[in-house]
């Protein structure tokens, strides 16, 4: 078994008297698709915020490809290969579809500010490289036609897709998806499942997926981790999780177990 890509070890974060995440241990290996589920307020998004450096853990360790990410700013962590999407879509509303993705390429730039001012050759070359890369990505996700539209004018499902494309433009090794199926209709959900699978295989990514839609989670995840009140109550394959009495009591309910 290969060394884990992401490793959380007894990670805890406390806000005042509330332990939002309590002694969570979780590992994700290269190119693995892991689901993170649990009732509302269980701390799933907090886990994302811990991994991406928005919050700092009060105790425990978080390692990404061999070194700690604790204490680093979010942009630096993104630079090391962790990208994310947001529960409530956070595209840059004043930018076009194309520029939204292009902005995510900024961190790969090597030219300095003087090149941007003087429009030197390295500036032009890099701009062209980025443009080509962005168009490739948009084409893969069939958003190329909408490239010059303001991102807010896209239909909801496309905005979700665009957010994934934007995250991919940072060239991550681990992609964190926060409720990508929220607000989607059943057809869109099926499309989304295909898309996540496709993305993971095409870019050889590890994916950590927070999702409430059990069809989606059970359908694509290789392994699932269940949180309740900030604690991990179960971990295993979809079949194991569906049969776990604790998970059924805390989250799934009887109906889902029967399904």
């Amino acid at each position: 078994m290969s060394a884990p890509l992401l490793e959380l070890e007894n990670t805890t974060v406390q806000f005042g008297g509330l332990k939002a995440v309590s002694e969570l241990s979780l590992t994700i290996r290269d190119a693995e698709l892991v689901g993170l589920i649990g009732p509302n307020g269980a701390g799933k998004t907090t886990v994302f915020n811990l991994i991406t450096g928005v919050y700092q853990p009060t105790a425990g360790r978080i390692h990404f490809s061999g070194s700690s990410v604790v204490g680093h700013r979010p942009y630096a962590i993104t630079g090391r290969g962790i990208a994310r999407t947001f529960q409530n879509i956070r595209l840059f509303p004043s930018l076009t579809v194309f520029d939204n993705v292009r902005t995510a390429c900024n961190m790969h730039l090597r030219h300095g500010i003087s090149h941007a001012l003087l429009r030197g050759r390295s500036f032009a070359n890099e701009e062209r490289e980025i443009e080509a890369a962005v168009i490739d990505l948009l084409e893969i996700f069939s958003l190329a036609k909408q490239r010059d539209l303001p991102c807010r004018s896209l239909p909801y499902g496309d905005q979700r897709r665009l957010e994934i494309v934007r995250a991919l433009a940072t060239r991550p090794r681990l992609l964190l998806l926060d409720e990508p199926a929220a607000g989607m209709n059943p057809t869109e959900k099926v499309e989304l499942m295909k898309l996540i699978r496709f993305t993971q295989e095409k870019f050889r990514l590890a994916v950590l997926l927070v999702e409430h839609d059990m069809k989606v989670v059970m359908g694509i995840c290789e392994r699932i981790c269940v949180l309740d009140y900030g604690k991990k109550i179960a971990e295993g394959t979809p079949t194991e999780i569906q049969a776990n009495p604790e998970v059924i009591a805390a989250y799934l309910g009887k109906e889902a177990a029967d399904a």
Partner: protein, 333 residues
């Protein structure tokens, strides 16, 4: 692309304005006889306001950081450059360097002084957002004023005078063109997209690998630099500077230009700066036209009230500014 072309036109327009202005006053021997000093005063003031407004727009408009201390940076630039020419100008002028070179170096010095002040203020205060940043920058403005008021070598409350009038049409509009060139090029580059991303959503920008602090500081320092240059031009135009000339009312004036022009529109902000410089002067004339009915003259006499009223009407009917593409008020996600 459309945007690239409009950028080109803008730069061309700036260059032609520089050439035109240099025709008016080609240094020591103007090609066209100089305008009377009143027009000269208004037009130089216009150029300086364009520099101030366009540079503030980089911070307030494009990067979305609401700074209210632009006059403070202008003060740093004005006093630094005045101090430079006053203490070294004659020595250098008599020596190897020409007076023009001394002046340019002093302008640069003023800009660098203001940029350093911008860095010192920006690094700690750019963690703050919205109203808080506005208050901190306003406070900085007042502190700078207070420091100058008590600095005996800078003339304290008496003001500082005795500078030679180096500022010409050419230098004013060359600096304005340079400011526009830098801001437009920066905004239409990877850096510009970073600024916009920071303005739109800081959390998402960080998550996309953008060092938001770095981008904010770059915008802030560059904005301060050009405010400093504007201050240097002002000092060597008026030949007398006083701390009260850089109070927060001055900062407000510049903010009004940015908002009126449309946050994040360089063309709009240039036009607003020109409009707001000329409008009060124009109303002054209206008040003096004998042919107008008595009441109209009296209305025009209260030109500052009229001017404020115009602003209110404009903001009510066009809150995004004259050329703004989107509402000046940023929404919260």
């Amino acid at each position: 692309m459309m945007r690239e072309h409009s950028k080109l036109y803008l730069v061309l327009a700036c260059l032609s304005s520089v050439l035109l202005s240099s025709a008016f006053s080609g240094g020591a021997a103007p090609v066209i006889p100089p305008l009377n000093s009143y027009y000269f005063d208004v037009l130089i003031g216009l150029g300086i306001n364009v520099i101030l407004a366009v540079s503030l727009n980089l911070v307030n408009g494009y990067t979305g950081q609401f700074s209210l201390g632009h006059a403070g940076f202008m003060a740093v630039g004005a006093y630094t450059s005045a101090w430079l020419t006053l203490s070294y100008g004659y020595a250098l002028g008599a020596g190897a360097l020409s007076t023009t070179t001394t002046f340019v170096l002093a302008l640069l010095g003023g800009g660098i002084g203001a940029a350093l002040a911008g860095f010192a203020v920006g690094v700690p205060s750019l963690r703050l957002r919205g109203d808080y940043l506005a208050i901190v920058t306003l406070g900085f403005n007042e502190i700078i004023k207070g420091v100058i008021q008590n600095a005996e070598p800078l003339g304290a409350q008496r003001g500082l005078g005795g500078m030679v009038q180096h500022t010409t049409f050419f230098w004013t509009f060359a600096c304005a063109a340079l400011t526009i060139y830098v801001v437009v090029n920066l905004v239409n580059s990877t850096y510009g997209r970073g600024f916009l991303a920071v303005r739109d959503d800081e959390i998402a920008a960080e998550a996309m690998g953008i060092n938001t602090t770095k981008y904010k500081v770059i915008a802030f320092v560059l904005g301060a630099f050009f405010a400093g240059v504007a201050g240097g031009l002002y000092a060597h135009f008026k030949q007398f500077i006083h701390p009260e000339g850089f109070n927060f009312m001055r900062s407000f004036d510049i903010v009004v230009m940015v908002i009126l022009g449309g946050m994040g529109s360089t063309v709009g902000v240039c036009i607003a700066a020109a409009l707001l410089t000329i409008l009060p002067e124009l109303l002054r004339f209206v008040a003096r036209i004998e042919a107008l009915p008595d009441w109209l003259q009296r209305v025009a006499e209260n030109r500052m009230i009229l001017y404020s009223l115009l602003l209110i009407v404009l903001m009510l009917t066009r809150p995004q500014g004259l050329f703004g593409a989107r509402a000046a008020v940023t929404r919260k996600a």
